[in-house]
């Protein structure tokens, strides 16, 4: 069975083949396409579970942190061969399980959700490709391959966000997602170049091959200082860390590159669930976790933790002033990703990845739930127009409430454990960040229950009759709700001595659980819920009661601190003016110069021609005219009659005869 681990590359290959096959399907083979996609991802899921079990057995036999590596030759440039390399280690396995499971559920959910869409064949093709890219990302052991999959994940999100391409907003959002993440990717790319320059390898772990995480190389990297213009001398790893983190900032929507994620709501809801839970945004967090050996203990960690902390709070404040049901969730995702980054940045590898996992389940649940709400409300997304949906959509309500409680961090839901682990980490290492985290927890509980009160409780404000969704959509919700409830227990210090920790990082010392942190965070979350109840739950309302209370500030939050407008008026405008500038340079400056040269030479030649005509040709022309006139006269001899010609010939013969005789 150990040999199974050497076949890990099949996991992404199943959905990849499915995508390739579906790509050549005709648009009407909806059933075949969806079954194929679901079959492929189910196979990947089963395979992942098998891998996990096989791995666990090896793990228990006491190999420590086991890593299975696979190398395939790829190409050779110069003297160094590049290999395609795969890895199976605890982080990979955790991600494989989460990604395949969430993807499987989302795929099944899409059966119902995309039932009426004429392009659902394409949809399943893109979804499969999306899953395949993400799965190859998590098993790759070579940073270049990782980067390639990283970009492919970006491509798939582009395709899926812009799936309803007839809507100009969707097309715009897709483009924005691709370009904003690409800004981060360029940082990542430069990081790769720098890493390769300094080490000559992009392999992460290697047996025999030179690799980045070998102790010698890590030592070399962590002691090497570089001089950066304007920053002075800093440690190489710090610089590298920041560059790699730029990529993660783009993908995981960290401030200031978070602007694409809320707009990504333009895509179909299953896509949002996939992006927010399992694939796209998880990639950034995964990257930081994957590069943890390199980043650990460097200055880059400070950047990561503060960016994460700031993003968490920043996005949470925006979320309280949104009215679109999916936008609230989008900002909550940004906020939670900030949390994960903060946890990782503080050195909490386990805390960050644990939250990544639980968040994947409950955020997928929330998004699929919101999709069910939207589906039931005939496409309505504005929370102000909903209300009282609890009665019409009971399953959706209860599962949604589970997700909300998990996100708010209420015991015993999964979010409680993972969030607390991050907060404990912050409590022991950085009190300011702990304060930020706690405040964010309060806001999170508040805006999520604001949503519950606005959507499910109170009076119905919907025009038209809402209905519950079909079972293909409800079953994934039920399963995810169970996961949102129980998945926290794998990482609790009270039961089974935190198996998650032992699995992911057996060799790392975890922080001791703190009851104080738990009590504080629970109190904070409960008070958030209470505040939401006081404002939204007690009486019916039409206008948001916060608007009169916060006035201009609310408007600022609703407009997301005017970040989009800011970017629009600075970067976008700068780039388009540069574009017109260089168009003008070509047209006016370079072509102008050319045409001037052309004109000058033309003028010169005209002048020359004039001189020729006037001086030189003056006499010559007369002679020419004479010759031409004479020619014309002689030409009359040419009558066209053969007899005349013969006559001339005869005369010529006689004349020449006479000439010969006489001379």
């Amino acid at each position: 069975m150990e040999g199974l681990l050497n076949h890990c590359f099949w996991i992404p290959l199943f959905p990849l083949f499915a995508a390739a096959l579906i790509a050549i399907f005709k648009n009407n083979r909806r059933k075949a396409a969806s079954s194929l996609a679901i079959l492929a991802i189910a196979l990947s899921f089963i395979f992942s579970i098998l891998l996990f079990l096989v791995y666990l057995r090896g793990h228990e036999e006491g190999h420590g942190t086991l890593r299975v590596l696979l190398h395939f030759p790829w190409f050779t440039s110069g003297g160094t061969p590049e290999v395609i390399s795969f890895i199976v280690d605890p982080l990979t396995l955790m991600m494989l399980l989460v990604v395949t499971l969430v993807s499987l559920l989302v795929f099944i959910y899409s059966l119902g959700y995309m039932h009426e869409d004429p392009n659902s064949v394409r949809f399943f093709c893109f979804l499969s490709l999306f899953a395949a890219s993400m799965l190859s990302l998590v098993i790759s052991n070579h940073l270049l391959i990782l980067f390639m999959c990283w970009e492919l994940v970006g491509l798939c999100s582009y395709l899926l966000i812009g799936f309803w391409y007839e809507k100009p907003e969707a097309a715009e959002a897709a483009k924005k997602a691709f370009i904003v993440t690409r800004i981060g990717d360029i940082g990542f790319f430069i990081g790769l170049l720098l890493l390769y320059q300094k080490t000559g390898s992009l392999l992460l772990y290697g047996e025999g091959h030179p690799s980045l995480f070998s102790p010698e190389m890590l030592h070399l990297l962590k002691t090497h200082a570089v001089t950066v213009p304007f920053f002075g001398g800093i440690l190489l790893t710090t610089l590298l860390g920041v560059l790699l983190f730029m990529g993660a900032m783009g993908k995981s929507a960290q401030f200031p590159l978070h602007v694409w994620l809320p707009d990504a709501m333009e895509g179909p809801t299953p896509v949002s669930a996939l992006i927010h839970a399992a694939t796209m945004v998880a990639a950034g967090v995964f990257l930081v976790a994957r590069m943890f050996p390199l980043l650990d203990g460097t200055g880059a960690m400070t950047v990561i933790s503060w960016t994460g902390g700031f993003t968490a709070l920043f996005a949470a404040t925006i979320a309280i002033a949104q009215f679109d049901i999916k936008r609230v969730l989008a900002y909550s995702t940004i906020s939670q990703l900030g949390y994960m980054m903060m946890g990782l940045g503080l050195g909490g590898l386990v805390a960050g990845t644990f939250h990544l996992m639980t968040h994947a389940f409950f955020k997928a649940l929330l998004f699929l739930g919101s999709g069910s709400v939207i589906h039931g409300c005939h496409g309505e997304q504005d929370m102000r127009k909903m209300g009282g949906l609890r009665k019409e959509m009971p399953v959706t309500f209860w599962t949604y409430l589970t997700g909300t409680l998990a996100l708010a961090g209420i015991f015993p839901f999964s979010g409680f454990f993972s969030k607390d682990e991050i907060l404990t980490e912050a409590f022991t290492k950085n009190r300011t960040l702990y304060g930020i985290g706690t405040l964010t927890a309060f806001l999170t509980a508040f805006y999520m229950f604001r949503q519950i009160f606005m959507v499910f409780l109170g009076k119905g404000r919907l025009h038209g009759h809402p209905h519950e969704s079909p079972p293909t959509m409800l079953w994934p919700l039920r399963i995810l709700a169970v996961l949102a409830l129980v998945s926290g227990f794998v990482g609790t210090p009270f039961l089974f001595h935190n198996p998650f920790h032992h699995f992911i990082a057996a060799d790392r010392e975890g922080v001791a659980p703190s009851y104080l942190v738990m009590i504080v965070s629970t109190t904070v979350a409960l008070s958030g819920i209470l505040t939401a109840y006081l404002i939204y739950g007690r009486r019916a309302f039409i206008e948001d009661p916060l608007i009169p209370a916060l006035k201009g500030f609310f408007r600022l939050l609703e407009k997301k601190y005017y970040m989009d407008e800011l970017y629009q008026n600075t970067f976008v405008r700068a780039i388009s003016s540069l574009a017109s500038l260089f168009k003008t340079v070509d047209q006016v400056l370079i072509d102008g110069f050319l045409h001037l040269t052309g004109f000058a030479s033309l003028t010169l030649s005209r002048f020359n021609q004039w001189i020729d005509n006037f001086f030189i040709n003056g006499g010559f022309d007369k002679a020419c005219a004479g010759i031409r006139g004479g020619g014309g006269k002689l030409g009359r001899l040419q009558t066209g009659r053969a007899q005349d010609y013969l006559l001339y010939a005869s005369i010529g013969a006689m004349v020449s005869y006479l000439l010969f005789r006489l001379l």
């Binding site: 190409f75 970009e151 809507k167 370009i179 690409r182 430069i190 390769y196 780039i575 070509d586």
Partner: protein, 512 residues
């Protein structure tokens, strides 16, 4: 004497073309079919060449060398190595596709197709010849058919474009011709290999100084070599084109017929880069090293300014033409980077990247120009603002155009990424600052190409074209081979890199 493989590949289109002229010009089907067949023969031969080529060595292979014009020391000298083989294959691969594209041409079909065959011979000759006279002959042979293709079969502003193209290229050619006259007078040979050896041993420089002294100038060897270097480089810089010599390109592309644009972007531009690799690098290594910091800035300008200018275009073809300026800028970045001090590994990466990028750009640019042609045939406009929602009515077209676009913007898994990565990986340690700025080009490229996709395919259907038909079988037959290569090179570039790697390492021995 072994079978003259290279001569056969090189001259077959021309000789076949003469026979082709004997066909009756009314039978258009026959003309099209026979032109296609004629162009398929070199493809098969060059594929055989590709398979038989010995990848384990850097020596010139399939050498055909014998005296041609003894009076001026001209040899008939053909050979291939890793630098030229990929280009030969690309040429023989794109020409049949271009001819297949041209099946929709009605006006003067026979002349048109003959010009394409002539063009193929010219381009192949450039990539095979190792004697300047021979090289220059084919260099010009490649120029003339393209001039007529633009001038006769182009769109509205064709006379201006054809003239601009011709004058630009010719002025470069004249400079190059004069420079090689000088080199010949100094060294007595036109052969590139011998010139490179003479230059590396320093003999060429001394001879040049003697020569200038005889005509009454006192110049240092460096000065003379610099003058010759710039004269030769000008010709190639115009052909590539490097900013600021690029303005002929958008005009020529916009006016040329579709197949003309394909070949122009796909192969003719590569002749410039190839010239740098084959002639400038081996013969003028010191001068290049001295001026590379400056020239690198021009490469950067091509990358950034080309990308920015592309962003501001509203004509689809102009936009793609500018993207060619941008992409060829990466090639030049790689070439100028290897002149800097640094490790051989980095240089090999950059140079392999350059060669791969030449191939890749040939594929993607040809595909993009073809796609634009497909669209233009139906909608009779290339104005971006008039399109919208095409994905709904032309799904196949949208799919293939999307793949080509993403290949052009360097998406991993498609061909552009590998070559750009290799170039960047190589030039980053050598010219860090320059490369950092050049990565900005990657972003801008994404911006304008995605904007193009958005305007063409997304949003509501444009009012001017509610009923466009999707791609025909013939158009698919052109597209699918191109797309196949995009995936092949993107996923498994090894076969191509194996061809180039040895020759690249050999070329780099000069610089170590």
């Amino acid at each position: 004497m072994p079978f003259p493989m290279l001569s056969t590949i090189n001259l077959f289109p021309l000789l076949g073309g003469f026979l082709f002229l004997l066909l009756p010009s009314e039978k258009k089907g026959l003309l099209r079919g026979s032109a296609l067949c004629l162009s398929l023969v070199p493809l098969c031969l060059s594929f055989a060449l590709l398979l038989q080529f010995d990848r384990s060595t850097n020596v010139l292979q399939y050498v055909e060398k014998f005296p041609w014009i003894r009076a001026i020391g001209v040899d008939y000298f053909l050979a291939v190595d890793g630098l030229s083989l990929t280009m030969i294959f690309l040429t023989t691969f794109l020409t049949p596709l271009a001819i297949l594209t041209s099946f929709s041409i009605e006006k003067n079909l026979k002349t048109y197709l003959f010009l394409f065959l002539l063009l193929e011979t010219g381009m192949l000759g450039v990539f095979m010849a190792l004697n300047f006279f021979h090289f220059f002959l084919f260099w010009e042979v490649g120029l003339i058919p393209m001039f007529f293709l633009i001038k006769v079969w182009g769109s509205e502003n064709r006379h201006y474009a054809a003239f601009k193209f011709f004058v630009y290229t010719l002025s470069g050619s004249v400079a190059m011709l004069l420079a090689f006259q000088l080199l010949y007078l100094a060294s007595g040979t036109f052969n590139f290999t011998e010139l490179a050896e003479l230059s590396q041993s320093g003999l060429l420089q001394t001879q040049l100084v003697f020569l200038t002294q005889r005509v009454g100038f006192t110049l240092s060897p460096d000065t003379v070599m610099t003058i010759v270097f710039f004269a030769v480089s000008l010709a190639f810089a115009i052909k590539v084109p490097i900013w600021p010599f690029h303005t002929w390109l958008p005009d020529a592309h916009t006016e040329a017929p579709t197949a003309g644009s394909m070949v122009l972007a796909g192969i003719l531009l590569k002749m410039g880069v190839y010239g740098f690799l084959r002639i400038v690098l081996p013969i003028f290594p010191e001068v290049l090293q001295r001026f590379a910091p400056l020239l690198g800035l021009f490469a950067l300008a091509s990358i950034l300014f080309g990308a920015f200018a592309a962003m501001a275009q509203t004509d689809l073809k102009r936009m793609i033409a500018y993207s060619s300026v941008n992409h060829m800028g990466y090639c030049m970045l790689g070439i100028f980077a290897i002149a800097a001090q640094g490790e051989v590994e980095a240089k090999a990466s950059a140079l392999n990247g350059v060669l791969l990028q030449m191939f890749n750009h040939g594929i993607s640019a040809a595909a993009l120009f073809f796609m634009v042609g497909v669209l233009y045939d139906r909608a009779h406009t290339r104005d971006l603002s008039k399109f919208g929602g095409l994905r709904k009515i032309m799904p196949l077209f949208a799919g293939f155009m999307g793949i080509s676009t993403f290949s052009s913007l360097g998406l991993p898994g498609l061909n552009g990424f590998i070559s750009e990565f290799l170039i960047f990986r190589g030039s980053f340690p050598l010219r860090t600052g320059l490369t950092l700025f050049a990565t900005g080009g990657l972003l801008i490229t994404a911006v304008y190409l995605l904007t193009m996709i958005q305007r063409l395919f997304h949003g509501p259907i444009g009012s001017s074209h509610p009923h466009l038909s999707d791609m025909t079988q013939r158009e698919l037959a052109v597209t699918i081979p191109l797309v196949f290569f995009m995936f092949l090179v993107g996923i498994y570039p090894s076969p191509l890199l194996e061809l180039t790697n040895r020759s690249v390492l050999h070329l780099l021995e000069i610089f170590s």
